[in-house]
């Protein structure tokens, strides 16, 4: 009896905490989410579907997904490389690298966008050179990809560093001493060990990439049907008094987020299962 009292809070504390938590979730997450769909469907399903058929809305959906896909390979390569370097090696400036990885979390997205204007804009550092060679970065899709990359690159590295650190380098060392080449070691040992963590990082950065507003807004130029992503499109439709269109586009964004959420939950579940399995297998050896 005594032991349960020490580890268990009184009933009223538990219920108060629970209702505060759930109430907060309901008012700040549930209600707005419902409101998006209610507003989008305010004039019935046909009007909603008509709003989604709008070519500019469809191109915004395509661009949003396209940019998220385009930043993915860069994020994976960078994230794995950075996490690998930090978790498995000791070198000078390691803590500096860790700090730099966190930079995008600390910098406001709007400022991040402005940095790229200062670099690649017409009056920016590389602006004249780009104009001479007829290369367009800012106010075109490449600039939007770069801005999204800046915002999303910490996610995978941040997810992998603690995972790789906890795994240590024993298995890799074993592989190498058994004659595996660098690539063999990476593909057969490291990657299988980190795959769920990597996927989790991919999903998080993907969600951020699709929802990004500030940085992308600064470098987009808002050309309809060309450089307008879904979040930007929602804003412009709303400003034009096209509430149905705005909320219909927002509902697509919300759906993309929900899909991400489900994928994230599945990955989390698999990750947990795998570590449990690993622990039961390894348990006897460890003692």
């Amino acid at each position: 009896m005594k032991s349960t009292r020490a580890t268990q809070e009184p009933r009223w504390v538990r219920y108060t905490l629970l209702s505060v938590g759930l109430g907060f979730l309901f008012f700040f997450l549930g209600l707005p989410l419902v409101a998006v769909f209610v507003e989008a469907l305010a004039q019935g399903l046909p009007v909603y579907l008509e709003a989604l058929k709008e070519p500019e809305t469809r191109s915004a959906i395509g661009l949003t997904v396209g940019i998220a896909l385009a930043v993915l390979p860069f994020n994976i390569v960078f994230g794995v490389a950075a996490a690998w370097a930090i978790a498995k090696f000791d070198f000078k400036g390691k803590s500096l690298l860790i700090t730099l990885i966190d930079l995008p979390f600390a910098v406001s997205p709007v400022v991040a966008g402005l940095i790229f204007i200062l670099l690649f804009g017409a009056q920016g550092t590389f602006g004249p050179w780009l104009a001479e060679h007829d290369l367009k970065i800012i106010f075109a899709v490449p600039g939007m990809i770069i801005a999204t990359l800046f915002i999303t690159f910490p996610f995978i590295a941040r997810e992998l560093i603690p995972l790789m650190q906890s795994q240590g380098k024993d298995e890799e060392e074993a592989a190498v001493s058994l004659g595996a080449s660098g690539w063999q070691m990476f593909w057969r040992v490291t990657l299988p060990n980190i795959k769920w963590g990597l996927l989790y990082g991919v999903i998080l950065s993907n969600a951020r990439a699709m929802g990004e507003f500030g940085a992308v807004s600064v470098v987009s130029g808002h050309i309809r049907g060309e450089t307008n992503t879904l979040p930007l499109h929602v804003e412009i439709l709303y400003n034009e008094y096209n509430a149905i269109g705005a909320f219909a586009a927002a509902s697509i964004l919300a759906l993309l987020a929900l899909v991400t959420l489900v994928a994230k939950t599945i990955v989390e579940w698999r990750m947990k299962k795998e570590t449990e399995m690993l622990n039961t297998v390894l348990a006897p050896e460890k003692t």
């Binding site: 396209g66 017409a122 104009a131 106010f139 899709v141 808002h222 412009i236 008094y241």
Partner: protein
């Protein structure tokens, strides 16, 4: 990696560029509620240009806050033409050398193909009996406007009230400043932009009067219903201009001067003017103005050039740091 990127950008392009191959492409950078005007105007011009020059044009639109848009053009957004709702914004591009210094003379009517007027939107039945600027400044009335320092809407309201006070018997700058002090006391808040002000007034039901463009009243009706409010025309108000200009640097680089020039000129054609009227913007063509008289009641207006000696001067005197707005607002 680069081949992957190529395939991704190829995918993006095919997703995005649904338009067929065009002889030339024009980008029109515009303010954020201009969509309806140019949505109808662009296909009209495409047809006209095909018949006249035998070229098929692709017309692209970029929309955003007026000031944000010209900043983007200055930073390299390759717009062939800018169609804005404030002369200051085009002056900004002229200062940067992107637009001709004498841009206002390059087209008729001060380079503004259509106009609007600042009007009062009051609640149904006009419960506070607001008829003129003096009623808006009366005690107990709440006025909803965007911030006068950094929005076109807010500036136009401020200057309209100032001009009205100047034209009252015995009016002078000092009295006008006093009147503005009284008026601004009736603003419970300054909205961030035109759309915000509308939401505050229509959806949150704050305030007794919203001051905005005549053309915007129609958009409000589209979203919130016509029976929800009344439009009141004060005894004197500002005729707001929507200046357009060619972005010289861009058209020279892209070789689109001819098309861009024709595009802007076409705004003054019968079709272009009628399209403006249908979007509740007052056409310059007197015949069309008469034809649409029912939706454009006669109202006594002034222009910024007449009363304030130009948009730049008005900005310097009233909205720059330390200008009349700051003086009034610090006193308050």
């Amino acid at each position: 990696m680069s081949s992957f990127r190529k395939s991704v950008s190829g995918l993006l392009l095919s997703l995005v560029a649904s338009a067929a191959l065009a002889d030339a492409t024009l980008l029109n950078a515009s303010y954020d509620v201009a969509r309806d005007v140019y949505k109808d105007f662009n296909p009209m011009f495409q047809k006209y240009w095909k018949a006249k020059a035998g070229e098929s044009l692709e017309l692209k639109q970029s929309h955003g806050g007026s000031t944000k848009q010209v900043r983007a053009v200055a930073d390299g957004l390759e717009a062939d033409v800018v169609t804005m709702n404030q002369a200051n914004d085009i002056e900004f591009l002229a200062d940067k050398g992107l637009v001709a210094k004498d841009w206002a003379k390059k087209f008729p009517n001060n380079a503004s193909p259509y106009t609007s007027a600042m009007v009062f939107i009051v609640r149904k039945g006009n419960p506070k009996a607001i008829k003129d600027w003096s009623d808006v400044a009366a005690p107990g009335v709440q006025m909803i406007i965007p911030h006068p320092k950094n929005t076109g809407n807010g500036r136009n309201t401020y200057l309209s009230a100032w001009a009205w006070a100047l034209k009252q018997p015995g009016g002078n700058d000092q009295k006008a400043q006093e009147f503005l002090g009284k008026l601004l006391k009736n603003a419970p808040l300054f909205a961030a932009g035109g759309r915000d002000a509308t939401t505050t007034f229509m959806q949150r039901k704050m305030g007794d009067v919203l001051i905005t463009f005549e053309s915007e009243a129609e958009m409000i009706a589209k979203e919130f219903g016509k029976g929800e409010f009344e439009v009141i025309y004060p005894s004197l108000t500002m005729q707001t201009e929507f200046p357009v200009a060619l972005v010289e640097k861009v058209v020279d680089k892209k070789g689109t001067r001819k098309q861009a020039q024709a595009y802007l000129e076409y705004l003054w054609s019968k079709e272009g003017q009628e399209n403006a009227a249908q979007n509740y913007l007052r056409p310059r063509d007197p015949e069309l103005l008469k034809k649409y008289a029912a939706q454009f009641p006669a109202v006594k207006t002034f222009t910024v050039d007449e009363v304030f000696g130009g948009a730049n001067k008005a900005f310097a005197v009233h909205f720059k740091d330390g200008g009349s707005f700051d003086q009034i607002y610090v006193q308050k």
